[in-house]
């Protein structure tokens, strides 16, 4: 009995239930649209697990999402809400792109320079919002959303400048130099049978572990969490609250920025003019929520979202719209948000049985 109770206490169970419900509702929508849910989900599963290379692609799709997930999770753990990961992702990607095109450097170093530039860009983009919050009391959610759009248009502007624009027609930048790419060596790519396999996933795991250590094991994490939970008590204890908030937002922004670099250097190699926000940052919110703001959890939820995106891209083959993925993920979030209700219900049933 005790064991059952313990299981009912953990959030992982409710997350899994939420995911299942998400799929059930997605199936309903598919059925209503006249598409066999069985066929669609079979395609989805086959699209992810069907061949080893599909799994590699899943990791590739998941890597930038792990970063934006970490970005949001880190902010939530420190008492702020980084809804601006989208913008930080874009400026990070832009900075990496500029360095990747304009700077000449030996292979590994060039890539590191790009990532560093992206981290810095994301850091500053978020830090500015923090400054407005700390100095003028402007709520971060408002300014973050505006900064997302500023980043969006800034990127579209930069794409079309002579400096970065590719030769000839098309609304995209030049490709970054090969020395800046983070793809696996040719031989490994061949073995994996995946042209996009890159170091991003490994970097994401290392970063997630590092974030976990920072939050749980360091004085920096102690300070940031203290301010996040109770600013007044932290101040009373001698912690500089404003500085902590700026640090937290800066780190959070840097994580999203690196996500942008990983996406660019691993997959796209160039930035195209956006028609609408790409959503990596917003998807990061989903990743963070599924992970319960736990950095290690972000690895798994990032892979999950990556699998859904990659597998979902193949749904059109069976005539199902890709958007069904958004519906499923949306439902998952709703049910995670109300998981406390399930928790109470389940516990009550177990208790009721016990008393009988």
């Amino acid at each position: 009995m005790k064991k059952i109770k313990n299981i009912l206490e953990t959030n992982v169970l409710y997350t899994l239930i939420a995911i299942v419900i998400g799929f059930v509702i997605g199936a309903l929508f598919l059925a209503v649209a006249g598409i066999s849910p069985g066929a669609a989900y079979a395609k989805l599963i086959d699209g992810v697990f069907g061949r080893p290379k599909y799994l590699v692609w899943t990791m590739v799709y998941g890597s930038p999402l792990i970063f934006t997930g970490l970005s949001v999770a880190f902010s939530l753990r420190t008492g702020v809400f980084n809804i601006g990961a989208e913008g930080q992702f874009v400026v990070g990607s832009l900075a990496a792109c500029a360095v990747g095109i304009l700077v000449q450097a030996p292979p590994v170093i060039h890539a590191l320079l790009c990532i560093l530039a992206a981290a810095l860009a994301g850091f500053l983009w978020s830090y500015l919002v923090g400054l407005m919050k700390v100095k003028r009391g402007i709520h971060e959610v408002l300014s973050y959303i505006m900064f997302n759009w500023i980043a969006f248009y800034l990127s579209n502007y930069m794409v079309n400048t002579e400096l970065l624009h590719k030769e000839g027609d098309g609304e995209a930048t030049k490709n970054v130099l090969d020395s800046a790419r983070i793809l696996f060596p040719e031989g490994i790519l061949k073995v994996l049978d995946c042209s996009g396999a890159n170091w991003g996933f490994l970097l994401a795991i290392i970063t997630a572990v590092a974030m976990w250590i920072i939050i749980e094991k360091t004085t920096l994490g102690y300070r940031l969490k203290a301010v996040g939970f109770n600013k007044e008590a932290a101040k009373f204890g001698g912690i500089n609250a404003d500085k902590s908030i700026l640090t937290a937002l800066g780190i959070s922004g840097a994580l999203a920025g690196v996500g942008g670099a990983v996406q660019l250097l691993g997959m796209g190699a160039r930035i195209s003019q956006f028609a609408g926000q790409e959503g990596y940052g917003f998807q990061g919110i989903t990743v963070a929520l599924i992970a319960g703001s736990n950095p290690i959890g972000c690895i798994f939820s990032g892979i999950f979202y990556g699998a859904m995106k990659y597998g979902g891209s193949k749904l059109t083959m069976v005539g199902a719209p890709e958007e069904v993925i958004d519906i499923i993920m949306g439902c998952v979030i709703i049910f995670i948000a109300i998981s406390q209700v399930f928790k109470a219900l389940f516990k009550k049933t177990v208790k009721g049985k016990e008393s009988k």
Binding site: L220, A226, F236, G237, G238
Partner: protein, 518 residues
């Protein structure tokens, strides 16, 4: 005391028989008994964490008892939710008010059972009903005022009206005086009297012995979850009650050896400051606290003592004046700087300033030292040292329950939360300890303990500034009393004068109200 009892011993309204409530392996209530009559004020007395609140949460339907029976007006009941208990006429006023700050008094009272006229809320009817209730029990209130604009005492009235509006015949008041000023407490006791005169029963959860003798007919004592006894209050005195509560004799008198104070530690000169509205609240205050003395700062809430402490601890900036610690200037410094200069403090609001409730107890205990050896090296926390430190403090300061080093501080009872802060601040061992209402909400056993530690600080030649709304506390602990009124010190009483009974609460009260000594 001159109070009239309205108890009707022939009518039992609430009876709890052999109530057991377990949380996992922990038994919070172990065969508790309670019998409340019509028109009776029945006090429930017990130490912090004795199980008083659990018992009341069972009665008001928040918890289901593991075993035992509840009878209301002679009928056995089985509460599945607070609504069931409200329907049976039981209303609970919680210690921490559950009010929506930006809503008006009326909105809060009718919340969840708004009278409607067609599709709109019929506020006029609601208001009339509220005014009728408030007139009946003599608790005046402005039904249109917003909660955020009214005092704590008024908010409590709103809570009481809320349960009356729902037709409660039995009112459970959980630590109702914990956050009230002495004047407000008097007002509350009057309200309780009016309620019982009308045939309502009041269950009073408290650990303030004085209030029990002043207000209650019966008193049920519980200790560590077990039922001890139910006594008629008129047959016992405060010492009897205290002994039953803690299971041993309690020493009310603070033992203090005579001691000459040494050099000045804290020197405050001509401090001026404004409050958040821009009104001048400190008007050139002077104060000195020397080594080896406890200086009691007595005053009615709102006369500048909160602001003074905030300035001393770096949480607020003063406009002008001088503050120094052992000659070192600490005027308008940051909290970190004042702490490093030698000021530690037990803050008035333990949940706002004292603790990070989401943090574990052990993490709260290193708040000012989290980045110092042995708790951290090179930015990495040493969990083992932090745990050992916490275990030692929990043992030394008797923080219960044991073994909760890693649990969030918010899960401790109020008294034990306070002990966590006291443990932390006293072990900081700074030149000056500022204690603001250090025993608010604590039971007599814990109070005795806090007082012992404050005196120990003094005996160790530290300076102690005690700010308290409890005159008893000020009078029994202080080597010197300074009275604050209207932002300046208006009078001073020496320890000798207190010891020789040359002054009393009346004179202090007179000084606190702005009077001058003759």
């Amino acid at each position: 005391m001159g109070r009239v009892s309205h108890a009707d011993e022939s009518t039992v309204v609430v009876e709890m028989r052999n109530i057991v409530k377990k949380f996992g392996d922990f038994t919070a209530n172990d065969h508790i008994q309670l019998t409340v009559h019509k028109g009776e004020v029945h006090a429930i007395l017990g130490e912090n964490g004795a199980g008083k609140s659990t018992m009341m949460n069972v009665l008001c339907g928040l918890y289901k008892p593991t075993a035992g029976e509840i009878f209301i007006n002679g009928k056995q009941v089985n509460f599945n939710s607070p609504k069931d208990s409200i329907d049976m006429g039981i209303g609970m006023v919680h210690q921490h008010f559950m009010l929506i700050q930006p809503f008006t008094v009326t909105d809060n009272i009718i919340l969840g059972m708004e009278p409607v006229k067609g599709l709109v809320v019929d506020k006029e009817t609601a208001k009339a009903r509220i005014l009728e209730l408030s007139a009946k029990y003599n608790m005046s209130i402005d039904p249109d005022a917003k909660i955020e604009d009214i005092s704590v005492g008024m908010q409590q009235r709103v809570e009481i009206l809320k349960v009356l509006y729902r037709g409660a015949d039995v009112l459970i008041l959980d630590e109702p005086t914990a956050s009230l000023t002495p004047q407000e407490i008097e007002g509350l006791l009057e309200i309780i009297e009016n309620l019982t005169a009308d045939g309502k029963s009041v269950i009073l959860i408290t650990h303030k012995l004085k209030e029990i003798t002043a207000s209650s007919d019966k008193c049920t004592i519980i200790r560590q979850g077990k039922y001890i006894d139910t006594v008629s209050v008129k047959d016992v005195n405060e010492s009897d009650l205290a002994a039953m509560m803690v299971g041993r004799d309690v020493n009310f008198k603070v033992e203090k050896k005579p001691q000459e104070p040494g050099e000045a530690v804290l020197e405050v000169e001509g401090i001026r400051a404004r409050d958040y509205r821009g009104v001048e609240i400190l008007k050139g205050l002077d104060l000195t606290v020397r080594k080896g003395e406890i200086v009691g700062l007595a005053g009615v809430d709102g006369n500048g003592q909160t602001e003074l402490v905030e300035i001393l601890t770096g949480l607020r900036k003063a406009e002008s004046g001088k503050v120094s610690i052992l000659g070192k200037d600490v005027f308008n410094r940051t909290p970190k700087e004042t702490f490093d200069a030698g000021i530690s403090s037990i803050p008035a609001d333990r949940q706002k300033h004292g603790l990070i409730l989401e943090f574990s107890n052990e993490d709260n205990m290193i708040l000012q030292h989290y980045n110092e050896a042995p708790f951290a090296r090179k930015g990495i926390l040493n969990r083992k040292e932090i745990r050992e430190h916490a275990t030692a403090l929990m043992e030394k300061f008797d923080i219960r329950p044991r073994g909760t080093e890693g649990n969030p501080a918010g899960t401790l009872s109020g008294g034990n939360q306070q002990k966590v802060i006291i443990a932390r601040e006293i072990t900081n061992d700074k030149e000056l300890l500022i204690a603001v209402n250090p025993t608010r909400g604590l039971d007599v056993g814990a109070i005795e303990f806090v007082h012992k530690y404050l005196v120990e600080q003094r005996n160790n030649n530290r300076a102690v500034l005690l700010v308290s709304f409890e005159l008893d506390e000020i009078m029994s602990l202080s080597d010197r009393i300074e009275v604050i009124s209207g932002g300046i010190i208006t009078g001073s009483v020496t320890g000798e004068e207190i010891a020789n009974h040359e002054t009393d609460e009346k004179e202090l009260g007179f000084l606190m109200a702005g009077g001058k000594r003759t």
